[in-house]
Subunit: 323 residues, 2 copies
DNA sequence: TTGAAAGCGTTACCAA
DNA sequence: TTGGTAACGCTTTCAA
């Protein structure tokens, strides 16, 4: 493998000049440049990334942290990789599996300059603690955060959930249940707030066993239906789901149990993923791609010294066949 | 940010000794070690990754190349990140979007020592050309490859497809159609070979318009059903799919078109993903996780100087409700 | 057990 | 427009 020194010697110039050619400096004569470029080509030379990173103090790598990669995360991840790539940044995945120690490695990697910035999709460490890492580089979060200086790119789900609730009530459903995600998350709190508010406003019944938590995926959704069926006489008319995948699970299991959707049970998903479209599930359109792009845009002032305009975000309801 | 030099000076030792502490060298007195460790702690010191990578000539990063991240890729990616992480390796995603130039960047990054190794999930460049990069580091592929020294971790899909075909024939289906993936891929050729062989062996009909190519996802699957319905009188009894997602699309669209599954149309997926289970789709179990682990194991001799035993791979058929 | 010094391969500042 | 040289922060070899 050839290096700058060899190129310089062969060309009869100094390393400095070769470096200038590499960095498209205007202060190189045309002649010199062509000569050096020719030699680089002959030697099949490419600069060593580690040396550049060390010297510049910048790696052009961004870490992205998630407890696990599922289809919801995928939509965000995919969009983020795409937009970061447009600005020459690469993306490194850190999956924690909910392990605090493992998750912390990503933050340590910011400190040790392996990555220039960090994007949190989900995290389990204390956010106040995590925000002490902000001094090592910019950090943004998809997951909503409180009491920290880590900015979040997500929207308050209160609005979106409200949309779904109003839709159900307007359609005449009154016995409304929920399949929430992480119990302690801000999203879940927002959703609960919306639910409680509207149910009491309209004087609608709320049964304890209608509200499930820690429901994340298809299998969890299937289980919810089986749980609800335990008390058939108190069966809800509609269910709001943590995400579309939960809705898929509920829909499939409901069919398996000979329930008619939406007559026996109406279902509303969340996110408007491809699958919700395919299976005809009414859902809330969550602009994930726009949020992923915003995540990069929020990092960009510190990364590339450029302020980018953020996409404006808005929920909307997509009515399909499950309500 | 503190560095080795500062630690050394404060501790009253040389950089070499501090470095030895960092690398758990046995040639440091207990006293010295504790003293140095204490100072590191006080200064909140962590070594700079770029400096280490430059000095050692190793980055502990592995690049993984795919044209796009979809759910099938996800299963592989997720498992690979997991196993690589166990050996302290991080994973960098390169999505090419089928763009040869963009894809090549990953290989250039191997050359410029940004990554220590490469895993190809799918690629569009000429494989003979790509294999010239093998001299810069180990490369393995999930996608099957021919005529190169890039080893593949995938199985010949002939076997798996045969399993599905025999199952259908045994169940009495005779008008069998296909939804293939990338037309030029080795997988597709294997599948076609299996199909042609068994159909001629059993003297079964093969209609031109039964065989679709470039069918990759749910939407493509939906379209296949609409296409087939164009000629209702020549409608097949069964369809084999490129993957489970295609099968999902076909199943959903079939229902929408009031076709009964499996009476009017039997469906067989491929891969046995979570979704196939949920929707009760008969499919071929493809040990993706084992293949992802094998991918790392095949790199490991050159990466960590250790030969690992590969998982043995085997297909099997999972019968559910769509056949 | 410790230290001095030469790498690793760039960039960037100051002169010329 | 060019060159010399000091960073960048660590590892590793050779001596002591």
């Amino acid at each position: 493998m050839s290096n700058l020194d060899q190129i310089a010697k062969l060309a009869g110039f100094s390393k400095a000049t070769v470096s200038r050619v590499l960095n498209q400096s205007p202060h190189v004569s045309h002649e010199t440049r062509t000569k050096i470029l020719k030699i680089m080509q002959e030697l099949d030379y490419v600069p060593n990334r580690n040396a550049i990173s060390l010297s510049k103090g910048q790696t052009l790598q961004i870490g992205i942290i998630t407890s696990t990669i599922n289809e919801i995360v995928l939509a965000f991840l995919d969009s983020f990789v795409e937009v970061a790539g447009q600005y020459e940044f690469q993306t490194i995945i850190y999956t924690s599996g909910e392990d605090k120690k493992k998750e912390l490695q990503a933050f340590e990697d910011l400190k040790r300059k392996r990555v220039d910035a960090l994007v949190i999709i989900s995290c389990v460490n204390d956010t106040d603690f995590l925000s002490t890492y902000c001094k090592y580089g910019p950090i943004v979060s998809w997951q909503r955060m409180e009491h920290t200086d880590i900015r979040s790119v997500a929207m308050d789900q209160y609005e979106g959930y409200m949309l779904a609730l109003k839709h159900l009530i307007q359609k005449g459903y009154t016995r409304i249940s929920n399949a929430f995600g992480r119990p302690s998350s801000i999203n879940t709190h927002s959703r609960q707030r919306a639910y409680e508010q509207i149910m009491s406003e309209h004087n609608l019944p709320v049964l304890q066993h209608w509200n499930h938590s820690s429901i994340y995926n298809i299998r969890d959704g299937e289980q919810v239906v089986r749980d609800l069926l335990q008390r058939r006489e108190e069966f809800p008319e509609a269910i709001l789901c943590a995400n579309d995948y939960v809705a898929v699970g509920i829909l499939c299991e409901a069919r398996r149990q000979r329930l008619n959707v939406p007559e026996d049970l109406a279902i509303v998903g969340f996110d408007n993923t491809e699958l919700a479209h395919t299976m005809g599930i009414t859902t809330i359109q969550n602009p994930i791609m726009a949020q992923a792009q915003n995540a990069f845009f929020m990092l960009s002032p510190q990364l590339i010294g450029r302020q980018m305009e953020l996409h404006s975000l808005e929920y909307c309801l997509i009515e399909r066949t499950t309500t």
